[in-house]
């Protein structure tokens, strides 16, 4: 690489007018050794840039942040909602049964009332019969 071209590129580099390609040309020249003494400082700069790009993240990245506690909460909430659903279902059944029993009790009470009243009537009729019998005896 001719020195004059490097010098021109360095000028452009300082003005931030170089393209990435030109910067790579500079980089290759400066890290390749054989740097002209008056351009020494660029060797340090480009060496540092090259080394700095080699640094890597050594810790592995963990994506799932959900802890076991959070996962348990999730499971518990599902279980709880099922339990709630089931108990509502059971409660509804129980209520229906209670309502049916209440109706049955009312109906049977009504029927009982009817039957006692009927019995009274029957007794009265029975009384009538005895009266009729007595009258017939006398007439005969």
């Amino acid at each position: 690489m001719e020195l004059s071209r490097i010098e021109k590129l360095v000028e452009k580099y300082l003005k931030a007018e170089t393209t990435l390609q030109e910067e790579n040309t500079l980089k290759n020249y400066f890290i390749g050794g054989n740097v002209a003494p008056h351009l020494q400082e660029y060797e340090y700069m480009f060496s540092y840039f090259t080394i700095a790009k080699e640094e890597v993240l050594e810790k592995p990245i963990v994506i799932k942040k959900k802890t076991t506690f959070q996962r348990n909460i999730f499971r518990l909430s599902i279980a709880a909602s099922f339990a709630l659903l089931f108990s509502v279902f059971l409660g509804y059944n129980q209520y229906q049964r209670y309502q049916a029993e209440k109706k049955f009790a009312e109906v049977s009470k009504g029927l009982e009332l009817l039957s006692t009243t009927l019995k009274k009537g029957e007794n009265a009729v029975a009384g009538l019969y005895t009266y009729e019998k007595a009258v017939n005896k006398i007439l005969d």
């Binding site: 580099y13 300082l14 003005k15 931030a16 007018e17 990435l20 910067e23 790579n24 020494q40 400082e41 660029y42 340090y44 700069m45 060496s47 540092y48 840039f49 080394i51 700095a52 790009k53 080699e54 640094e55 890597v56 993240l57 050594e58 810790k59 990245i61 963990v62 994506i63 799932k64 942040k65």
Partner: protein, 169 residues
């Protein structure tokens, strides 16, 4: 988006995220934590990732903003980042840098630059992003990017020359 698809799209630039975070936050541990935190954020926003044409640029912007916020909250709590504040891990980089004092001097000089110049030097000279990518990631105008970059490069060079003239490295 499944986990493997997500990882495939975001893992390739994890080192760039880490290096940018380290450039801005200085310490390795903080940069590691920041990278981890950013990947959680990306994972939580994974539905939006598909909408971005350039996921990497989006991630770098997030990194930049996150680090600036961290730095701000540090200043607010009166904690300044100075060298004695943390213990640097002995990474391979540090060892290599130590072999060459002048090269490690560049690291120090970048550390002393204003935040914005640090950011742009990192993106251009180290990560080698194109100018339009840098504009997208920083939200700056092309001329502003070039001005900041030019200033940063000139400062580093002048400071290097100065230390050499005085023979102190």
């Amino acid at each position: 988006m499944t986990e493997s698809e997500f990882l495939k799209s975001v893992i390739p630039f994890k080192d760039k995220v880490f290096r940018l975070a380290k450039r801005l936050l200085v310490s390795t541990e903080e940069a590691e934590d920041a990278t981890q935190e950013l990947y959680f954020k990306l994972w939580r926003n994974k539905s939006k990732i598909a909408d971005y044409k350039n996921v990497e640029a989006f991630a770098m912007t997030m990194t930049k903003n996150y680090c600036y916020d961290r730095l701000k909250s540090k200043q607010a709590s009166n904690l300044t980042l100075v060298h004695s504040n943390y213990k640097e891990k002995d990474t391979s980089l540090e060892k290599k840098v130590e072999q060459r004092d002048s090269v490690s001097k560049v690291h120090e000089l970048i550390e002393q630059l204003p935040e914005q110049q640090k950011l742009i030097i990192q993106m251009r000279d180290i990560e080698q992003y194109e100018f339009d990518e840098i504009c997208e990631m920083t939200g700056m105008k092309p001329t502003a990017v070039r001005v900041a970059l030019s200033r940063a490069r000139k400062t580093i060079r002048e400071q290097l020359l100065k230390t050499h003239q005085y023979g102190v490295i």
